[in-house]
Each structure stands twice: as C-alpha cells, then as structure tokens.
C-alpha cells in the first residue's frame, strides 16, 4: 500500500481565498497542499474586475516591491447611467481616488492568480494542479482529508479549507448549506476582453496614459430592465466589458446572454469605444449575490469554507476578491491555532467565524442583507430611474430660450409619467433602508 499523502492543511481551490489561506498557513510553518482543478491556478477564474490594495498589502506588506502583474490602476471610477440611446456619467477622479498607491487595480485573473499562487508557493505551500476534489474523508464525523478524482487520490489533513468558488458543491456536501444556488440570488455575467492599442483606449476614454485606468458600473438600459449591472474596466491594452443579470430574470425573459452583451456593445455610447477592437477572450461566470441571506455555516469539524463558496460577495461595491483574501487569512490563522491546540473540533474552528465577525466581511454582508431582494423587487432602478436621469439632465442642459418653469414641469413629468411620485419617494426610502440595512 503506497504510504498516505499527509499534510497539516489541505486547501481546495487556488483562487484568491485558497492561495491566501495557503500562504498564511505555510508562513506559520504548516505543511500545506493546495488542490486546484485547473491546468494552473487562475485557469478557471474569471471576473470584471479590480483588486483592492488594502487586502493585497495585508498579506504581503512588500506587495508592490514584488512587481505584481497588475493592469491599469483605477484612477477614475463611478456609475454610467445608460438610457436607450444616451448616457449620464457620474464618475469621480482625483481627491480620495488619487492615493499612492491607489486603492484598486484592474487585473486579469489568469496571470494574477498564477502569480498570487507562486507567492504562496514561495512561503512553502505545495500546489497540486489538474486535480479535482470530489468528496471528503471522515473519521466518525470529523473531516480528516479529501478524495480526488485521480487514482490513489486521497489526501489526508486534519484541517480542510474549502475555497471552491461559486459552484459550492463540496460546501453543500459538507452540509454547511442545505440548498444549491438560489436563482434569484445568483447572477450570470458574460464578458468580452476587446484588445485596442493603449493610445486608442486613452484617447477614447480621456485617460492621459496607461498609468491611468477606469472601473465603471453601468446601470440602466444595459440589462434591459432585468436586475443586473454592466461593467467596463480598462486593462493596459484592452477593454473588459460585460454584463450580469440575475438567473431568475434570465429564465423569465429567455434572452440569450451573448445577445444581451452584444446589444450593450452596440449601444450608441459604447460602440465608439470598442470600434475596431479585436476579441481576445469571451467568457461567463456566476456571481453569488445572496450575501448574508445565502451565507453557509462557515465551519464544521475539520473544515472551513471561504470566498465565493461562502457567498462572500458585496455586489453593490464590486467587492469579492478582498473578502475572499480576508476570509482566507482568517481561516488559515484559525487552522494554525487549531494545530497549536491540536484541537480540530467544530468548536475550535468556530473561532474562524468569530474572527470574521470583526472584519468588514460579515459586517458588510449583514448590512446589505436586504439589497439583493430590494433589487429584484425594484427593477425600476434598472430602467426607469436611469432613463429619467438621462431625460432630466438632457432637458436641463437644452432648456435654452424656454421658460424654466415649463422646463422643470417637463422634467418632473418625465418622472411622474414613468413612476407615480409617491411610489418614487417610496423607492428612495426603500433604497436607503436596504443600504443602511434596517
């Protein structure tokens, strides 16, 4: 019998949460194995998207000295409100955004996640790619390792940190959650990475050079009234443009995701930005938007769960990777503590949840627990209000020579014939409550 494959900690998945957990645990001297199903870490990961400096520097204080493979820094960010044929831009630059280093960097996951995993390997973590974890090994209820789909594929470890991503089949198998993804609490995002010469991107978006970049949330016509958000990120030499809508809306309208994306790309305000660009990569990924309402139990005897698998995403603020990094770290520290005490019981690992409560992760998820329900019940924020905003500002800035009283009446009517006033006020209050979380 070949000898057992034994580690102190097994991490499932080499994404943001997994590689972070591995780095922290290895740094504390534990023997860590990271089992990744992709050809390489990053091969299966996909996002808009931007990474947040606070989380990256928390794991590696000398983060920027290590020359990380980042795309453009985010020096301009905000909302674009799309109407059927127009656009209102509400973006901010300079001021708070102008930190050194800036708070967010656009990134490409295949390259960054591989680099992030290499940093963990340098700390001593051992990466096993091209291997799928299919189940757990138990000893009277206690998780003592994982099963993989390779022959002689059992890997033993007293602590398993599950970072398997949004399709959390293993988390469900562990019994940490009693249902599969909710279609009203999960969004499908499709995206195109369109390459353009950097100078062209700078010219079209008003960026001085490749040391400046954009991260834009696009609201309104992009999702054709369905609860969802579009996005636009600038990598060094490409535009990363996509749109995500909740699965229940997709099911109801039976709109093909790639047609929705194409319509977004053909919008009069977007088409000129991507003209003559070359498609480098198309892709699709689910985003867990349930947050607090779909949060699984975070620990059990011998195992913890972190990242998308634990629906740690705050869609409104586009936060997911920093939550995953924070949770990965806390899970690792809990594992280190458990090894010191040689106590891998559920009680011992419950400290993971206590630690996480102190961080923004659980605090924010709790605060925004009403948000996804709010968005699906208030689709008007996705079509009526963006359209109204376009009309209102459009009229305001073309009211020359007309009596202004009549102009304001017309702006007012462009709201009321879309949405009765008392309802609009009600929407605003409901939005406020959902944001404050009362």
């Amino acid at each position: 019998m070949t000898e057992k494959i034994q580690f102190d900690v097994v991490v499932v998945g080499a994404g943001m949460a997994g590689s972070t957990a591995a780095a922290i645990a290895a740094r504390e001297g534990l023997q860590v194995a990271v089992i990744e199903r992709g050809q390489k870490p990053g091969a299966k990961n996909y996002f808009g998207g931007a990474l947040y400096t606070h989380a990256l520097e928390e794991i590696y204080p000398d983060f920027f000295d290590r020359k990380p493979p980042l795309e453009r820094p985010v020096t301009e960010t905000g909302f674009w409100f799309l109407s059927n044929d127009g656009l209102v831009k509400a973006t901010v630059q300079g001021g708070y955004i102008d930190n050194d280093p800036v708070d967010a960097y656009v990134a490409l996951r295949a390259e960054f996640d591989l680099w992030w995993a290499e940093q963990a390997a340098a700390e001593g973590a051992f990466f096993i790619p091209k291997t799928l974890v299919t189940d757990f090994l138990y000893e009277d209820g206690q998780v003592i390792g994982v099963k993989t789909d390779r022959p002689q594929g059992d890997v033993y470890a007293p602590v398993v940190i599950v970072c398997e991503g949004v399709n959390n089949m293993l988390t469900q198998k562990l019994g940490l959650i009693d249902h599969d993804l909710r279609i009203s609490k999960t969004a499908l995002a499709v995206k195109q990475l369109i390459s353009l010469p950097p100078k062209e991107i700078n010219a079209r978006l008003g960026l001085p050079d490749t040391k400046h970049g954009m991260a834009i949330s696009v609201v309104g016509d992009v999702s054709m009234g369905m609860p969802g958000l579009g996005f636009l990120y600038t990598t060094t030499s490409a535009l990363s443009i996509g749109v995500g809508v909740t699965l229940d809306a997709l099911q109801e309208t039976q709109i093909k995701p790639y047609n929705l994306l194409q319509r977004y790309l053909e919008h009069p305000a977007i088409a000129p930005l991507v003209k003559d660009g070359q498609l480098m990569e198309y892709g699709a990924h689910l985003i867990p938007e349930g947050g607090w309402t779909t949060l699984p139990k975070l620990y059990t005897a011998g195992a913890m769960v972190a990242g998308d698998a634990a629906s740690m995403v705050n869609a409104i603020h586009w936060e997911g990777t920093n939550m995953a990094i924070t949770a990965g770290k806390q899970a690792a520290l809990t594992a280190v503590e458990a090894h010191k005490q040689q106590d891998f019981s559920a009680k011992s690992l419950s400290k993971y949840q206590d630690r996480l409560k102190e961080t923004f992760v659980l605090k924010d998820l709790k605060q925004y627990r009403k948000m996804s329900a709010f968005l699906s019940n208030h689709p008007e924020f996705m079509d009526i209000y963006p359209a109204f905003l376009n009309d209102a500002l459009g009229l305001f800035f073309t009211g020359f020579g007309k009596p202004k009283r009549k102009l304001y009446k017309r702006i007012f009517r462009s709201l009321t014939n879309r949405r009765p006033l008392f309802k609009a006020v009600g929407d605003l209050i409901a939005f406020g409550r959902a944001v404050i979380g009362i």
């Binding site: 070949t2 494959i5 051992f126 990466f127 096993i128 091209k130 291997t131 993989t148 390779r150 022959p151 002689q152 594929g153 059992d154 890997v155 070359q278 480098m280 990569e281």
Partner: protein
C-alpha cells in the same frame, strides 16, 4: 528490461494563435504553450510499453527554459528521466540543426544505457514539417517507421519490433530490428489520467539541464542559424478571400438560380478540368 526514449516539443497552441497584423509575427502574450499533442500520445504509448515490459522511459526536449513544463507532463505520464536541452546558441535552428542536436543527445543516452525504441510525434503543430523524426533516424543510422498507429510487439530478447503504420492506401505492418526510430500518430495510445502519486512525483521532479557545451560539446557550426540551411526570408498573414456574390432564390426563382450557379461553377478552370473526368 527495455529502455525507451521520447523526443518531445513544447509548442504554442496553434488553435489560439493571434498574429500582429502589422508585423505578421506571432503575438506571444496570452498564447498558451502546450506539450505537442502528437508527442503526448507518443509518451503515453511509451509509458504503457515500459510498464508492460518493465524498464525505463527517458524524455528529452530542445527548447526554452519554459519547456520544463512539457517535461513535467511527461514525468506525470510515466517518464523516469527528463532532459531539457536549452541554450541561446540553438536559437534559429531549422530541422537539420534540430535533428543534429537531438540526434547527438540520443546517441549519448544510447551509449550510456542502450535504447530499444525512440519515439517522435508525427509532427509539431507549430511547424508541421514532420522532418525531425526521419532526420534523427538517419543521424543515428537506425531503421525508421513513420505514421505509426499501433505497436504490435516489442521483443528485446529476439531484437525485433512490429509496428503498424497508416498510408493513404492502407495499413502496413513493419518488422524492424532494434533499436528503431518511430514517429507516432495520435491513435497510438490514449492520454492516461495519472495517479496522484505520479502527479506529485512530477511536480517535485527537476529535469536535467543540458546546454550547447555541457555535458555534450556540440559542433557550433551545426547548431543555431549557422547550422541551418533554411531561414525565413519573409513572413505575413494570409490575405483574406473577398466575400462571394450571392444569388437569391427568392428573387430569381430556383430554376434560374441553379442554372446560373452551375454555369458559374463550370466557368472555374479547376472545376472545368474536373468536369471532363466526370462525364
């Protein structure tokens, strides 16, 4: 106990090629490098026979340092020893120089531990020349069997092997003395799904690193650009076909549309030359 060797190559994945329209050269960024598919099947076949007969499997590759990843995949499939031959001096080698570099490396390994069968993939999907296998066989003065779809027998004791090769007109069963050189089609073996211990071994395995001087002192005149009779005078992207003229059945009706289509078809000289044969 048999000693088998496979010569492999790491190639850019041509199904994902992107060409810079101005320079006509390959855009490297974002183009994944993979183990040449034909070589992967050759390694799978060699590993199967090594396990069946007992023995050793060596793999070698000539390429950049990153080619180490391709060797790792071979160890995962069952290779016991992997050698990376890498040196800036090899840059620009055409197939003649390449078969010299690989041929001498195989000769050295053969002298130290006699080989029985040497495998090459049918061709590399980036160059598609299919010349390096035959070239190495000539340099090693060993019998060559190309386009092998099946290995029937490797009999070291009686010093022969039986290979099945595929040609346009059918399948030939070839008997060769040993050692022999073969080039492999994909159907020679399926890619195995390695056990976890084999995968872990491959992840921890460090290939041997040979240069243009160590441990073999290559004749500098036969390697790199100096040793390559052929070089690329010019390269570019293929010009696009202009879009076709279309006839609408709705407009002209079926009979007239087909009549015009057949006339236009027969007006084409190569179809016309064919037409004589059909009648």
């Amino acid at each position: 106990m048999v000693h088998l060797l496979v010569s492999v190559k790491q190639v850019p994945d041509t199904t994902n090629i992107r060409i810079d329209p101005e320079t006509g050269s390959l855009i490297r960024k974002g183009v994944p490098a993979i183990l040449n598919p034909y070589d992967a099947h050759a390694v799978a076949a060699a590993a199967t026979w090594k396990r069946k007969l007992g023995g050793k499997l060596t793999v070698i590759t000539m390429g950049p340092a990153a080619a180490e990843e391709a060797l790792q995949e071979c160890v995962e499939m069952g290779a016991d020893r992997a050698v990376l031959i890498s040196d800036r001096k090899f840059a620009g080698s055409d197939t003649l120089a390449t078969s010299y570099v690989l041929g001498e490396a195989i000769r050295k390994i053969h002298q130290e531990d006699p080989l029985d069968v040497i495998f090459f993939g049918k061709q590399a999907i980036d160059g598609d020349t299919a010349q390096v296998g035959p070239g190495a066989a000539v340099r090693l003065d060993m019998p060559l069997v190309t386009y092998v779809v099946e290995i029937q027998e490797i009999n070291k004791e009686q010093g022969y092997a039986l290979f099945v090769r595929k040609t346009e007109s059918g399948r030939e069963v070839i008997r060769t003395s040993l050692p022999a050189v073969i080039t492999a089609e994909k159907s020679i073996a399926e890619i195995p799904y390695a056990s976890l211990p084999d995968l872990i071994t491959s992840l921890r395995y460090q290939p041997e690193f040979w240069t243009a001087h160590e441990p073999l002192a290559y004749d500098q005149a036969q390697i790199g650009l100096k040793g390559s009779p052929t070089w690329v005078a010019q390269s570019g992207t293929p010009e696009a076909h202009e879009p076709a003229e279309t006839i609408s059945v709705e407009e002209f009706g079926v009979q007239a549309s087909v009549d015009r289509a057949l006339k236009d078809m027969l007006a084409d000289k190569s179809v016309a030359s064919l037409w004589k044969e059909i009648k």
